[in-house]
């Protein structure tokens, strides 16, 4: 049972790390704000959740599992909210880029 939990936590941490790396790669590589947001938003919540679950499995019941759970809940609430507000604000100022439009010079000096 203990070994199973440990193996499960390793799996969670591994998948979490990989999806975090995907988020990082996405935000680094994709061409405009919306695609980047798409890459970061999904994998960020997913990876964060998995890493925290992996940590929880490793602490067991007598560890600080409540605090980890609180961090998990906060992250799962705040991260999508920020994505939503960010996308909403960005959409009003700058329409999404499609394959055929050239990227306008934006508000950079």
């Amino acid at each position: 049972m203990v070994e199973l939990t440990y193996a499960l936590s390793i799996l969670c941490l591994l998948v979490g790390s990989i999806s975090n790396l995907i988020a990082g790669f996405g935000i680094f590589h994709f061409p405009d704000v919306y695609t980047r947001m798409h890459a970061a938003g999904i994998t960020d919540s997913f990876g964060t959740g998995l890493i925290l679950i992996g940590l929880m499995l490793q602490t067991g019941w007598d560890g600080p599992i409540g605090k980890l759970l609180a961090i998990l809940i906060f992250t799962l609430i705040t991260s999508p909210t920020i994505s939503y507000v960010l996308a909403n604000t960005a959409l009003k100022e700058q329409p999404p880029k499609t394959a055929n439009t050239t990227h306008k010079k934006t508000d950079e000096s």
């Binding site: 705040t78 939503y84 000096s109």
Partner: protein, 330 residues
């Protein structure tokens, strides 16, 4: 491995600071200042300075960027290009930096236990203060008891700076309407319903966490300065989402000014009580029979005073900057 993580964070900090030097768009620079605060707070965590990390997080991530942004709204977003190339400044900076780095070669190596800084009074604090005060968090006990005069002075500086901001931006914050039924003009954030609801859920938690940091500061990381900054950040979020007017129904300007003074008076009053009982200023041993209980009570009162003053001064300053923005836009 663990001893190299802080080097990575320091490299991130260096990159950020060079990016700040290079950029001309002040909005982006303020954003990078937030990153800078976040990274330096992480560095403080790595250096075991947990109390400092909490304070730097609240101040560096939230309050400092907010104040800078409200100023930018009044002064404009772009920095103008200078007419001449600042070679002289570059030479001065490089020369001074080279001298200072030459000076660091004489410094004791990083992390060694027997440096002059770690030998004198610090070992006394580490070995004796738990027996003398009964408070596990050494930072709290040193802050509020051993170096109580120092902290009182710092608190006076904060109070004076707040008074200075009030004097400089001597605008009237528009007082809220008397009748409760008046429909308030909505803040422009209020059309995001999801944001409103999420904030309604989170703000009580943030304020609760501020109180936890305040009163748990004797046993874990925390204390008055951290709690004040966190509490003020929570109220700043409330002001941003629900509007300054609504916030001022809860904390009006007069009450905040009153509380800023009350915290300082609580601190000073604790000292006066010990003078009147025939001991030195801020000698807590008069407060109770047993010495550790007296220290506990004294530190609790003093930290409470610090927390109240810091929270109300930061909130007051934030409100003045925010209402200044509103005035500019009219």
């Amino acid at each position: 491995m663990e001893s190299y993580i802080h080097i990575i964070i320091l490299c991130f900090l260096l990159l950020t600071s060079f990016a700040i030097v290079r950029m001309r768009d002040l909005f982006s620079i303020v954003m990078l200042m937030g990153v800078y605060g976040l990274l330096s707070a992480s560095f403080f965590v790595l250096m075991d300075a947990v109390d400092v990390a909490l304070t730097e997080a609240a101040v560096g991530i939230v309050i400092s960027p907010l104040l800078l942004l409200s100023t930018l709204a009044a002064t404009g977003r772009y920095e103008k290009k200078k007419r001449q190339q600042p070679f002289l400044a570059l030479i001065v900076a490089v020369f001074t930096g080279a001298l200072l780095i030459y000076g660091t070669l004489e410094m004791p190596p990083f992390g060694s236990a027997d440096t002059p800084a770690n030998r004198h009074v610090a070992s006394y604090y580490i070995n004796q203060s738990y027996a003398e005060t009964g408070i596990p968090n050494l930072v709290s006990s040193v802050l509020a008891s051993y170096r109580g005069y120092d902290t009182l002075g710092e608190l006076f500086v904060i109070f004076t700076a707040g008074a200075g901001v009030l004097a400089l931006l001597g605008l009237k914050i528009k007082s809220p309407k008397k009748s409760r039924s008046t429909v308030l003009p909505p803040s422009s954030m209020s059309r995001h319903h999801i944001l409103r609801i999420v904030s309604k859920m989170l703000i009580p938690l943030i304020l609760l966490f501020g109180l936890y940091v305040q009163f748990h500061g004797d046993f874990g990381p925390g204390g008055g300065f951290q709690a004040g900054a966190i509490f003020a950040s929570g109220m700043a979020l409330y002001a941003m989402i629900f509007g300054l007017q609504t916030t001022m129904r809860v904390f009006s300007r007069a009450w905040l000014e009153f509380f800023a003074a009350v915290g300082l008076l609580l601190y000073g009053g604790t000292g006066v009580v010990s003078i009147l009982s025939g001991k030195n200023f801020l000698d807590y041993s008069v407060l109770s029979q047993s010495p550790t209980d007296a220290q506990h009570l004294g530190i609790l009162l003093v930290e409470l005073g610090v927390g109240i003053t810091v929270a109300s001064v930061i909130l007051l300053v934030f409100m003045f900057f925010a209402s200044h923005m509103t005035k500019v836009s009219e």
